[in-house]
């Protein structure tokens, strides 16, 4: 590319030599010792000077003739030539000449350009043009163009510029009035006004959503819907309030670890949870959690660092200085997390919850006032409860499984049995032990909360609730064939719901008559799986542990080697393949030899808290104990009743969010290097750490996820600010200053305008990482304001506009294509945020899903015309409109979209129902607002679509089409109502003094205009 632009300057390692070595040599002679051939390393000067096994130095500085490297690349002999002739083509003579010159000049190495932090450069002097240069970016561009003997394009006309600016800031086209206002108010005032619009956040959130692989479904086979739009709305809001980019990143990676984290900061950590989730039957959950982790690494690499981190998942990176160990060092920062899900309440509801907390606190304070000796009473009660607690021996499973094979439960360090992965509606999981159980009188069953469960569980329903339909115990003596059931009886529990029919919500095909009931703990040992134990304490209190004890008819006596089996039967869920199952996600079993084993009617949360010595109890544990004591007081009936009534008012969250949460200190997850990156081949442990080639991790910073997040946005980072700047530049100019937006590594050549990139990066950080400032800086340049009309010489010399001697011109991105049509038509809804909407999608697309999306009910009314940002993204069924215009399907992070131009896209914008509705609405709008004559209307329609007045030849074309169409309508060839409304008998809502024929004729015109290249293009 460089050769295109003029005389070559002196040879530079980064610009000229590294790309040659990287492309041809590093795969075998690079950083990865595992794949290194002949012991030779060329990415490191010292090593290259020593040479490999042959003993010949590969490079002798100043002496090309003595350098083995040159001899090899020139060698005509097949066994000697490099790169190996069967693997790679020979180097070009020009490349060899460069290597020779470089060695002759001393073979100096440089760090790769992107690993050296950007510094503010001195702006070039521009001679007599200086007076015109208002912006340092323009100075760099002007200097470069001068050197290349180019001259910049003239400024674009006002209409073009107004449209370009509106599209770039808000993703929406300007109205004719806004075009006029632009001419009146000027560029700068318009820019400020647009940046303040909510549409700015909607437009710019979308670019981040690509990199963050945002979707509304989980992907893989089941591809069930997920609720994640609260995170999407957080991103929109972050842009609109101009949350500084450093905070933007920190909150998304570790918002939950910030001191006094707000609900918003926890929602922000949904970023890394945008990974796909596999819920296929029979999967091993840890395999796909690792896949999610790999995806997170890939995402942080592409979106924040501009590094191809995933290339080091299986082995040391072939090209960039990221070792296999360093990959897992980064991995370790993110690995100690739960895959959490939490409710998201509206701000009103948060107030309501705060009120509720206050009311309860007041009532409890009243109770304490009424009982001055309450601390002593509580201590005595505590003693009393403790006396009722009996010792339980943990159940140690020798085998775990599920009768269907759909689930693979695991036993955790604390003895709990965790079932993640596929949620089963009907079936059982079982645990088998060979412990010697002689003398055992009873079994304890605990349903426990866990960070990986929906709202911490203990259940796996959409509320984290559960039901145990049956708890079964059976025995197989040594040599026995069958499992012999043992009867369980006298069940006690800390809490049970009253007996009642199962609610409508859990209705299932296999129980059409509604025979199933739920209620007391006895239901789980009554031998009838139509009845089940449930302990849902209602919204606000349902996600807490529960406990039950059951007794054997007599103490157990079996020979050594007997196997004991517990089955936990689930049959209280709704339909399969959704979230209406009733599995217990985390449970623990225990045995006792005490006589008449029972559990006291005290919330298990409090009982678990009682096992902690008083001085070590957390506030939550103290509260749990206090609550349980309070509930035990028969004299406190009124206060307890009032508190229970307050809880009844706990508001259900309208949505939830998937996010990261740090694992508890008792349950930390170490990171191991994975051999060949395979999930089930752990090797040595790896501590959190960052690659040596990047800026150092501050010595005093914690080696935590939060420390990592802060390291990412450390001003010393050579990459973070550049990558952010490049993303904005790419969105505005169509191509980034670094073309490979996802890869700033050694394979990325020095950008043509590294000086511009660096100046912007430094300025970005200096202005508090303000994204609005950054966009404003870029848009305020003369470079941006140039006309996109290409001069012939430039077009030939620089077809891709890498030198920026003209303004940007390229097809709008998918969302903007749709939003533009709706905006021009006057249909676009301005509502910001909320649940994603379902666009109309052909039935053949809906039908072809592994699990049919029965929830897909196309939006009507204003919601149908929401911005494309809000269109539901189902991963295995990419939206046909978005994908045909190159929107990614969010399987993985996307830092750069391709731009295609296909007949399928043409068919879509011509015929897809929403586009057709836009054409129909545009016709009526033109008739309503566009004047009395066809000529006036044609001009108005052109202004709506392209922002500019119509040209004479264009008016002639439209007039001719109108004339012919009106004639065909008059002759009865066409049904005007059908064209104008889509229904043969339906009348359009006609403006005064217009006819259905007018509406039909203009619908045909409008459809043409919505498909103009100029309408679909930013120019």
């Amino acid at each position: 590319m460089l050769g295109l632009f003029g005389a070559e300057p002196a040879v530079s390692f980064n610009r000229d030599i590294r790309p040659i070595l990287s492309d041809n040599c590093f795969a075998c002679h690079g950083a990865d010792a595992g794949s290194r051939k002949a012991g030779l390393r060329l990415d490191d000067r010292a090593a290259a000077l020593v040479g490999g096994k042959s003993g010949e130095p590969a490079i002798v500085p100043g002496q090309p003739a003595k350098s083995e490297l040159l001899q090899r690349v020139r060698s005509p002999h097949e066994d000697e030539a490099m790169p190996p002739p069967d693997k790679k083509p020979r180097l070009k003579p020009a490349e060899i000449a460069k290597l020779e010159r470089w060695i002759a000049n001393g073979a100096a190495y440089e760090s790769h350009w992107s690993f050296i932090a950007p510094t503010a450069a001195t702006f070039p002097a521009i001679g007599n043009q200086k007076s015109k240069i208002e912006n340092p970016i323009d100075a760099f561009v002007a200097a470069r163009l001068r050197r290349e003997k180019f001259s910049p394009a003239p400024a674009a006309d006002a209409a073009t510029l107004a449209r370009r600016l509106h599209l770039d800031v808000t993703g929406l086209p300007p109205t004719p009035a806004e075009v006029a206002a632009f001419s009146h108010d000027g560029f700068s005032a318009t820019l400020d006004r647009l940046l303040a619009r909510p549409a700015y956040g909607e437009k710019w959130a979308r670019h981040w959503l690509d990199a963050a692989r945002y979707a509304d479904s989980n992907g893989y086979e089941k591809d069930l819907p997920r609720e994640q739009w609260a995170w999407r709305d957080w991103v929109i809001d972050a842009f609109n309030r101009d949350l500084p980019y450093d905070k933007f990143i920190v909150e998304q990676i570790a918002g939950d670890l910030l001191p006094d984290a707000t609900p918003e900061q926890i929602i922000a950590t949904g970023f890394l949870r945008n990974s796909m989730i596999n819920e296929e039957g029979a999967i091993v959950p840890e395999q796909f959690r690792k896949e999610e982790m790999f995806d997170r690494m890939d995402c942080v690499g592409k979106a924040v660092l501009g590094l191809t981190l995933q290339c080091a998942q299986c082995h040391t990176h072939k090209f960039d200085p990221i070792s296999h160990d360093e990959y897992f060092g980064l991995f370790a920062f993110l690995n100690n997390t739960y895959e959490a899900q939490s409710w998201v309440h509206t701000s009103d509801q948060r107030k309501q919850i705060a009120d509720l907390d206050r009311v309860i606190a007041e009532l409890e304070a009243r109770l304490r006032n009424e009982r001055p000796n309450w601390e002593k009473e509580l201590a005595a009660w505590e003693e009393g409860v403790r006396a009722q607690l009996i010792p339980w021996t943990p159940f140690v499973a020798t085998e775990l499984g599920s009768d269907s094979g759909l689930n693979h439960p695991t036993q955790e360090a604390d003895g709990s049995i965790l079932t993640l992965g596929h949620p089963t509606t009907r079936g059982a999981i079982y645990a088998i032990t060979e412990q010697l159980l002689n003398g055992v009188t009873g079994l304890r069953f605990e349903a426990l909360t866990h960070g990986d469960l929906t709202f911490r569980g203990p259940g796996r329903s959409r509320y984290g609730t559960w039901a145990v339909s049956e708890l079964k115990f059976s025995v197989k003596v040594p040599g026995g064939k069958e499992w012999q059931p043992l009867r369980l009886q006298n069940a006690t529990a800390d809490f049970s719901e009253p007996a009642d029919k199962l609610e409508e919500e859990w209705k299932a095909d296999f129980d059409k008559e509604g025979k199933r009931t739920r209620g007391p703990v006895a239901f789980m040992v009554d031998g009838d799986k139509l009845t089940g134990w449930r302990a849902d304490r209602g919204p606000g209190r349902r996600n807490q542990p529960s406990v039950a004890a059951v007794q054997f008819e007599c103490p157990i006596e079996y020979p050594v080697g007997t196997k004991f089996r517990v089955d936990i039967v689930t049959d209280h869920g709704g339909s399969s393949s959704d979230r209406s199952n009733s599995m217990v996600g985390c449970l623990r079993l225990g045995f006792t030899t005490e006589k008449d084993p029972r559990v006291p009617p005290v919330d298990h949360t409090a009982v678990l808290a009682l096992t902690v010595p008083p001085a070590q109890r957390t506030e939550a544990q103290r509260r749990a104990i206090f609550t349980a004591w309070r509930q035990s007081l028969s004299e406190a009936k009124e206060i307890n009743g009032a508190i229970a009534a307050a809880w009844e008012k706990y508001p259900p969250g309208p949505t939830s969010v998937l996010h990261l949460a740090e694992r508890s200190t008792a349950d930390t997850r170490p990171t191991h290097l994975l051999d060949r990156g395979a999930w089930d081949r752990p090797k040595h442990a790896v501590a959190p750490g960052v690659p040596a080639a990047l800026h150092p991790f501050p010595a005093d910073a914690p080696r935590s996820r939060l420390g990592f997040a802060r390291w990412l946005v450390d001003p010393h980072s050579p990459l973070t600010a550049r990558v952010a700047v490049n993303r904005v530049w790419q969105a505005v100019f169509g191509t980034g200053l670094v073309e490979t937006a996802e890869d700033f590594g050694t394979r990325a050549p020095i950008p043509e305008y590294l000086d511009v990139l660096d100046a912007l990066a430094v300025d970005f950080m200096a202005h508090g990482w303000s994204q609005k400032h950054l966009l404003k800086t870029i848009l305020s340049t003369a470079t941006y304001r140039q006309s996109s009309v290409a001069s012939p010489a430039f077009l030939e010399r620089d077809p891709n506009n890498r030198l920026l001697a003209r303004g940007p011109r390229f097809r709008l991105e998918a969302e903007v294509v749709r939003d533009t049509a709706l905006g021009i038509a006057g249909l676009l809804s301005s509502k910001v945020g909320g649940p994603s909407i379902f666009p109309p999608v052909p039935q053949s697309v809906i039908d072809y899903n592994y699990v049919k999306p029965t929830y897909w009910i196309p939006a009507q009314g204003a919601d149908r015309y929401r911005r494309a940002l809000y269109v539901f993204r189902k991963r295995s069924m990419p939206d046909p409109v978005m994908s045909v215009f190159d929107a990614p399907n969010a399987d993985t992070a996307c830092a750069r979209r391709p731009r295609s131009n296909t007949p399928l896209a043409a068919l879509t914008s011509l015929n897809e129902p929403v586009f057709v509705e836009a054409a129909q609405a545009l016709a009526l709008r033109v008739l309503r607002e566009g004047g009395r004559t066809d000529a006036e209307r044609a001009d108005y329609a052109y202004r709506l679509c392209t922002a500019r007045p119509i040209r004479d030849n264009e008016r002639a074309t439209l007039t001719a089409l109108l004339r012919d169409t009106r004639q065909r309508l008059a002759e009865g060839w066409l049904n005007p109502r059908e064209i104008a409304t889509g229904a043969p008998a339906k009348l359009p809502e006609l403006p005064p003094d217009t006819t259905p024929q007018d509406a039909a004729a203009w619908t045909i015109i409008a459809r043409v205009l919505l498909n103009l290249d100029e309408t679909l293009t930013k120019s």
Binding site: G219, Y220, E221, N278, E280, G281, A282, V284, E291, F294, T308, G405, T740, E742, R747, S788, P792, L795, E796, P799, R809, S844, V845, D847, Y848, N849, Y850, K852, R875, S876, P880, D891, T892, P898, N901, T902, L904, A906, T908, L910, N911, E912, A919, N953, E954, T957, L961, D964, R968, W973, L974, R977, E978, I979, G982, A1000, I1004, V1008, L1012, D1013
Partner: protein, 476 residues
């Protein structure tokens, strides 16, 4: 192989010519100029079209691919791989040494062995044995190349299908069809170069099974839908007749040509072209889908009872029609083979649905002289366990040995490659990993699989990643 450089050079050449015409005027009036530009835009299409036919690395044996993807994973033990020893040991536990480090999906590895539910017999001169469930396929024994030693890495459906389709269990890579189209381009300008046809239910792998991954969008598979518009949004809006559509597109072309003259952006010429192709597609796609012109004997050959009903059989015939029209790659997905239970009944039904049409397609291609340079692939994402799942009528996922078959396109005929052990559990001889299969397919298409690359994220990606060996024994 890199396309972008060639395309850029060609575009630059074209642009200079256009600019010469416009700026130097050469005495042309404005109208004549725009006409000339439009004409040139059409003429220029092959050079700038990323789907233009391209020559592979060496002379190809196969020029087209039809992939009959049997999603859900058919049982090799009921269809292709006779195991008397398995039948003999029905009900016994598998030998412990087999199970070391073994993982199925649902079942405990230590489950009883299950003998094949159907009988096998040798067929043709080659004597290849097929199950009684495949009477039609069996008749083609001497035309097929059966691989009984397939292996893959995945044991769950979505990753398994993505592995088979893209060479990686991780989503985001281009599919085999996309690589094929990227490498070879298309020989039909009227139809997409990579067409996807579906029957039975949606696949576990979803749209990523035929996606373009990181390749440009144009290389992705285009589903021809089983109901409604065969290509999405092919029909004009209600009330718009053909004359209206033509008049609208004529006006659009004039207006866009005017923009082209004003802005000089070659992308405008390409857009004009796309709208014209869309118009042609509106005719060619329904014509393609209309089986009315096929003689009754042909419908009978494929076992098509109702030419309008969307079935695997109809898709097989459509595949032949697409191939005849120069479409490079046709992929059928039939997601029906996940027999964890009801094996006896369901595997039979699946064979009734697929056997006759699969065989008819091969026979029909042969009859028309298309089989020699069309590669047909039949198979799923993995196989099924020799061990039982559930009572006595199901098999779990099994990735250590399974069977697929190939036909035409330069592969051996009447040939069995590889062998599984006596229980159909492990490969006993000549294993063929998915990567090897991909390498071989690309080889048949004329590519060195290590050199058909696309630079993405600084790395030259391949269909076969860093793996794959061409299986010479498959090639005629």
């Amino acid at each position: 192989m890199t396309l972008s450089n060639d395309l850029h050079a060609e575009r630059a050449r074209l642009l200079s010519r256009r600019w010469f015409l416009r700026d130097c005027g050469v005495g042309l009036a404005g109208v004549a100029l725009t006409q000339m530009l439009a004409r040139e835009a059409r003429a220029a299409a092959p050079a700038t079209n990323p789907l233009a036919p391209r020559t592979p690395h060496f002379a190809p044996k196969a020029k087209r691919v039809i992939y009959l993807f049997q999603a859900g994973a058919p049982s090799h033990l009921e269809l292709f791989d006779p195991k008397p020893e398995l039948t003999k040991r029905d009900g016994q536990l598998p030998p412990a040494e087999l199970l070391k480090d073994y993982r199925a999906a649902f079942i405990k590895p230590n489950s009883a062995l299950l003998g094949a539910k159907y009988k096998f017999a040798p067929h043709g001169q080659s004597g290849i044995e097929f199950s009684e469930l495949l009477p039609h396929t069996a008749k083609l024994a001497d035309d097929l190349c059966v691989i009984r030693s397939m292996q893959t890495d995945a044991v769950n459906h979505a990753p398994g299908q993505i592995m088979m389709s893209t060479g990686s269990q991780q989503f985001g890579r281009p599919s085999l069809g996309a690589w094929t189209l990227y490498g070879l381009g298309s020989e039909n300008e009227e139809l997409p170069g990579y067409v996807v046809l579906t029957s039975a239910k949606g696949t576990s792998g979803g749209a990523s099974n035929y996606g373009c991954g990181f390749l440009p969008t144009v290389y992705g598979g285009v589903p021809f839908r089983s109901a409604g518009d065969p290509i999405l949004y092919l029909s004009n809006p209600p009330g718009f007749d053909v004359a209206t559509q033509r008049a609208s597109l004529d006006a659009l072309r004039e207006l866009n040509t005017s923009s082209l003259a004003a802005a000089g952006d070659p992308a405008i010429a390409a857009r004009i072209q796309s709208y014209e192709m869309a118009y042609r597609l509106q005719t060619s796609a329904p014509e393609l889908m209309d089986l009315g012109a096929e003689p009754p004997a042909v419908l009978e050959l494929y076992g098509i009872k109702d030419a309008k009903e969307s079935t695997f059989a109809r898709n097989c015939l459509l595949a032949r029609r697409l191939i005849e029209r120069g479409v490079r790659c046709v992929q059928l997905f039939h997601e029906a083979w996940d027999q964890h239970g009801n094996l006896t009944k369901d595997v039979k039904k699946n064979c009734v649905d697929t056997d006759q049409a699969s065989a008819a397609l091969v026979a029909d291609l042969k009859e028309r002289g298309l089989l020699d340079d069309t590669l047909v692939i039949w198979g799923g994402e993995f196989g099924r366990t020799p061990m039982v799942q559930g009572g006595n009528d199901g098999r779990d996922h099994h990735n250590r040995a399974f069977t697929i078959w190939l036909a035409g396109g330069g592969v051996k005929r009447g040939h069995i490659h590889g062998e599984s052990d006596d229980l159909g559990f492990n490969v006993a001889r000549d294993p063929v990993h998915v990567h090897d299969l991909h390498a071989t397919i690309l080889h048949l298409l004329g590519f060195d699989h290590t050199k058909l690359t696309y630079r993405y994220q600084g790395r030259d990606f391949r269909l076969t990643d860093v793996h794959g060996e061409v299986v010479r024994d498959l090639i005629a």
